[in-house]
Symmetry: C2
């Protein structure tokens, strides 16, 4: 059993050794910069863990693990343009450092690089890998589109929100898990079980992100707490509060345009009055349990169910 | 022998029947809008012509022909953001009509759609198709990056310019030709011959574009003549003139900031004094001949060499 730490080292060293062409430097420097920045490497770790759990050879999946990480980072580079974001993982975004045009073009290049690495596999799994990857990529774009549309709508339901984060975040984790199962030569049933595991885990993961942005420990979380509140971001917390706001309290707070710190405190108090922190944590727990249950129907090597259980649980109790 | 007109109808009707999801509308409307706008359909026509010439079944290549056309249009959608372009093919660009974010995201979706259609092929040609397509896509991005960098440089050589348009324009035409050969099950030698044909033809094609922008007939060309001159665009004409401008005449014209019409006339006179219109036409002819010669080494059905000769010749004598 390879530990997440070892898997992280494997994927980091694979990504560090990508042989980028020297020219044009302005195209490839932002890609190297983005991929060296780290992040949790959650998607490749999930993928390689599944390979390991199914008795496959982790080294045979490194190329696909890199592909999924490159794809994820491509979406971040383009999202940062759309959000005019200045900082990501404590460093200037590609958008901020190199400008819009380089961010667009380097992102495009990363998407094609992701396909290149995805394609580096035995012939017999090329088509299933690509079909899953293509479908997932389209869903991720749909999720991003919905996320942008929600910013201009005041009537988003909780169901719509869950649908959006399923597309924007969850399906890529699910895809990573199923890709691992494909590389390991697993049956259709096993593939689907791991896809479900990833889907539920992804929902829990995104809700945990929403929770931490408002209720995280600023010393641990690593970015400003309350960013979502300041930007009126349509998170589960905001949407639920808005839907239950019979007296119009939340709307009044926002309409009064308080300064950042007062807004965070007032909105958080209102969330507290609706018991939202407990309720979102309980929802996260439900999705985490659902993830774990997805694996009940399949046979995997002893120890691995515990591993995936604690992986899901740890990720969804994380503080950063 | 299927005529270019029939091939255009085939590809247009295939593209018109793409079953886009209804939601999110903001993601798919710009894609439909872009693909219905037409354009010359040069790349799919080239590809399908090669299939036909090699005795293959044109209908078996429609999916890949659509893929290459979708890819080409994806690059236009993103290029229009980078150029802040308002008009394309006589209609508002996606960037102008829907804004930056939708243009980025719809473009991304088109790139993945291109991969989906490329992937729709028999297993035995899946890998060669993808390898060629991946490599070409990366080259196209490199070409676009160089094109942007040239805008800020005053020392671009003609060789560098030819290298840039080879990447930005030529390789995709070459790729279209070779994809056709792959679909038709051709030998490596035939594949390479058609790739060379496409490369030389692409260079001629781009140089013809440069020529028409400055010397085209405004009534036929369909867009404003002189746009490249107004924007100091680094074309073959501009770069050659700058390199041969011993007395500093061109620099003086530009530095004097004349109004658009005077600038076009003054720069065009200077080009004339260096014989540039004749020289670029002769270069276009050379590349066209080179394209035709590429096919000498291979055996194709009677009539087809004449067809590809006149295809290359017509395209590079076109007035629009």
């Amino acid at each position: 059993m390879t530990s997440p730490r070892e898997l992280t080292e494997l994927i980091n060293s694979f990504l560090a050794q990508i042989p980028y062409p020297a020219h044009p430097a302005e195209l490839y420097s932002p890609i190297r910069y983005t991929l060296e920045t780290g992040g949790k490497r959650l998607r490749p770790i999930l993928m390689l863990s599944v390979i390991d759990a199914l008795g496959g050879d982790v080294s045979q999946g490194l190329s696909q693990a890199a592909a999924i990480e490159i794809f994820h980072n491509f979406t971040l580079v383009h999202d940062d343009v759309m959000d005019n974001a200045q900082v990501r993982r404590g460093r200037p975004t590609v958008f901020h450092k190199w400008g819009r045009d380089t961010a667009i073009l380097s992102g495009d290049t990363m998407l094609t690089l992701a396909y290149e690495y995805m394609t580096s596999c035995p012939d017999n799994i090329l088509r299933p890998l690509l079909e899953l990857f293509n479908r997932t990529a389209i869903e991720v774009y749909e999720g991003q589109q919905l996320d942008m549309e929600f910013e201009n709508r005041d009537d988003v339901s909780v169901d719509e929100y869950i649908h959006m984060i399923r597309l924007k975040t969850s399906v890529l984790l699910a895809c990573a898990c199923e890709l691992g199962a494909i590389v390991a030569g697993a049956s259709e049933q096993t593939r689907k079980a791991f896809y479900s595991y990833g889907t539920s885990m992804g929902l829990a993961f995104q809700l945990r992100d929403d929770y931490l942005d408002t209720y995280g420990d600023p010393l641990i979380f690593g970015k400003q707490i309350g960013g979502d509140i300041i930007n009126d971001k349509k998170t589960w917390l905001y949407i639920t509060a808005l839907n239950e706001d019979v007296s119009g309290e939340l709307k009044r707070i926002i309409a009064s345009k308080p300064d950042a710190q007062n807004k965070i405190e007032a909105v958080r108090s209102f969330y507290d009055s609706l018991n939202l922190p407990e309720r979102i944590c309980s929802l996260i727990e439900q999705y985490t349990e659902q993830a774990v249950k997805s694996l009940n129907s399949i046979e995997i090597k002893p120890g691995w169910k515990e591993y995936f259980t604690s992986l899901a649980t740890d990720l969804n109790k994380r503080s950063l």
